[in-house]
């Protein structure tokens, strides 16, 4: 009897795994999510990377125009690849708010000192909770957030590419 139960249990587990993997095959691999127009709470307190001063994140946002938020870490290889494009955004006079995700301040500062600092302000997120509030699932991720409504206009998962730069510029102009 118990043998049959074991067998049925195993069979059921297998069928569930099969169905899930089957569904998984058809999941789209397009990661820029248009539907994510959710509003987020940005009135969080966080520490600045360079000055140890605690500020409210919402103070960093321009109330009238959208802001770019980039979540990064010095240990993340794709962030390093992406870095050059962030520098280009900076050259295009676009302000980027950096959230330094689960990183040691020393490494983070070294990273920015040696490669250049594209951010207008960097805040630290040692335990990853601030990034979770933004709905981030890994690094790097880039958000464009409306200053008026605090809605996510666009979210990029993974490193930015050169094609994204023009798109970001246009989005910022459209929503200004």
């Amino acid at each position: 009897m118990s043998k049959n139960i074991k067998f049925l249990g195993l069979l059921l587990t297998l069928i569930i795994i099969f169905i899930i993997l089957l569904k998984g095959l058809n999941v789209s691999k397009d990661y820029s999510n248009e539907k994510l127009k959710s509003k987020i709470d940005i009135s969080l307190n966080a520490k600045k990377l360079f000055s140890d001063e605690i500020i409210n994140i919402s103070d960093l946002f321009d109330k009238n125009s959208p802001s770019v938020v980039n979540i990064w870490a010095s240990w993340c290889a794709p962030c390093r690849e992406e870095h050059q494009f962030l520098m280009k955004l900076k050259d295009m006079n676009i302000n980027i708010i950096g959230i330094n995700y689960k990183d040691s301040p020393k490494n983070a500062k070294n990273f920015l000192n040696s490669l250049g600092n594209p951010y207008s302000e960097v805040i630290t997120d040692n335990d990853g909770t601030k990034s979770i509030e933004f709905g981030a699932i890994g690094v790097p991720e880039t958000f464009i957030i409306s200053g008026k409504t605090n809605e996510i206009i666009k979210k990029y998962i993974g490193p930015l590419t050169s094609e994204n730069l023009i798109e970001i510029k246009n989005l910022l102009e459209e929503n200004a």
Binding site: K3, K6, F7, L10, L11, L14, F18, I20, L21, L22, K23, G24, L25, N26, V27, K29, Y31, A77, R80, Q84, K102, N110, F111, S114, L115, G116, I137, G138, I157
Partner: protein, 626 residues
Amino acid sequence: MSNYLGNYSLYIALIASVYLIFKSYLDANSENKYLDKNFILITSIQTIMITVSFFSLVAAFVISDFSNETVFNNSHTLKPLFYKVSGTWGNHEGSLLLWLLVLSIFLFIFLLNSRSQDTKYKLLTILFQQIIISGFLFFILLTSNPFKTLYPIPSEGLGLNPILQDPALAIHPPILYLGYVGTSIIFSASLASMISGNIGDKWARHIKKWVLLSWVFLTIGILLGSIWAYYELGWGGFWFWDPVENVSLMPWFCLTALLHTVIVLQKRNSFKEWTIILSITTFSLSMSGTFLVRSGILNSIHTFANDPSRGLFILSFLFILILMSILIFFFNQNKISNTAKENFILSKETAILVNNWFMMFFLSVVLVGTIYPIFLEVLNGSKISVGPPFYHNLLIPFLIPFLIFMSFGPSLKWIKDKLKKFNYNILIIFLVSLLISYVILTKTENSFLLSIPLIVLSIYLLLVTIKDFFVSRSSISQKISHFGFSLLITSILLNGLFSNEFNSNMKVGDERIFDEKVVKLKEVNVKDVDNYKSLKASFEVTNKNSSFALYPEVRIYQQPLTITSEADIKTTLFSDNFLVFNILKDDGYYNVRYQYKPLMIWIWISTIFIGFGGLLSVIRKNEQKY
């Protein structure tokens, strides 16, 4: 011409496969004492047909026959001959054909090597192996035929991904496949032995060679993949916990457990269920590896093909095989004669059991980390990325009990061991390793509490495995493999602890100071080579009293347009100096990454030791004594 030859020989192989399935099924139910001569004949015909098919694809690649779609998509006339040949299995269709080739050759070798075995057992092994072969044949012919023709014939091919133009990668897939496919023989044989009821010490001796052989190939295959990632991808590490790397590691854990379990089966005639379940699991994991990599369900740097219909086929096939094996296991469980002997806590059997549980734990962590993201995405649409921190946090703390255990487990005796009188040698070794660790740990600033026991224990284990060469009674192959493993763990830990890197944008003529070293970019030379444009930089690294040069390279390939960075690595016995650079688009600046990585070469050497131990065990006949 070669297209037709390749295609039709696959059909002939399929007919042979179907014939063998029916014939072996019918014969297994009759009480024939001898194996019909036709089996060897038909199997060899099938093997020859598949070989012909494989080599006609190789020929198409060599002569750049672009009427073949696979060749057109993956080759180019300008490619060096070596990579034209390796291009045969550098793509989805060709790699499956290689899988199939190895499958049929292995079955043929198995038949030649198991003359003394029971007829029913052999027939059933043929049956299961042919089911797998026919599955692959259908898969190739229906969804990924490598012999699709193109008309009009294009004049030039689309090239091979230049990242794949690397000697380590050219031989990495075949070696890994030998490991994977070897597990298919273990799978078929263990199901067959379960039904025919001959599972026991005699069978264990016979199947142990296959287990060892697959394990050696899998070990070396993983090593080559790791070497490729280190030298070619230029990320400066040897393991990235990428899903595709993980799928080769999972069967390895399982096979390592099986390797130890089979020894118990051989010596003590117990652990029968462990053996069967591990055989089934190992093969299922190897097959899932193929499924995960080939279906495009994973997001990874390694996924080359994206075709859900292929995924559907492999998924269904995989589940049919798993289902079949579970049914066979449950309905034949009573045939396993439970000669359960009394097990004592302090014995080699217990030690191997504990080892198995550790392997299962490591396996579960990697399994969860690899497929949980897929599950979560399907279940509620959320996406998580599981990175190195997950694996490190879950695996590293458990290394502590594992290392302690491994320091004494292998030297326990079978059946029952006694607690020995206090052994002064052990105490001396422990004190020496404390001393060495102290010296090592004072040299680093980032010592966490966790790294102290890890370093102490890994050095302790290393010294114990060295000591075992002189005093232990176990076999030389086991000593070598265990020594290799402890060396591997020690090298990885020290490498992780002492690695250091610096990153900067530099112009020609610039100097940067890093960790008492001066890194200078002297010049960058541009040159046209074979099928790419090369930018070779010349760096000089000056230490306190010595200096050396490094020449990293950036290659710009035209077919298809790809830029790769070739790191230059200066390897010494104690450390690697790794330098890689990238082009930044503007004003002559290059992004330079310099890494100091201690003991890199020992990670490769120790893995070779691990594999060599296994190989020695396959070759040596008098291993049976231990």
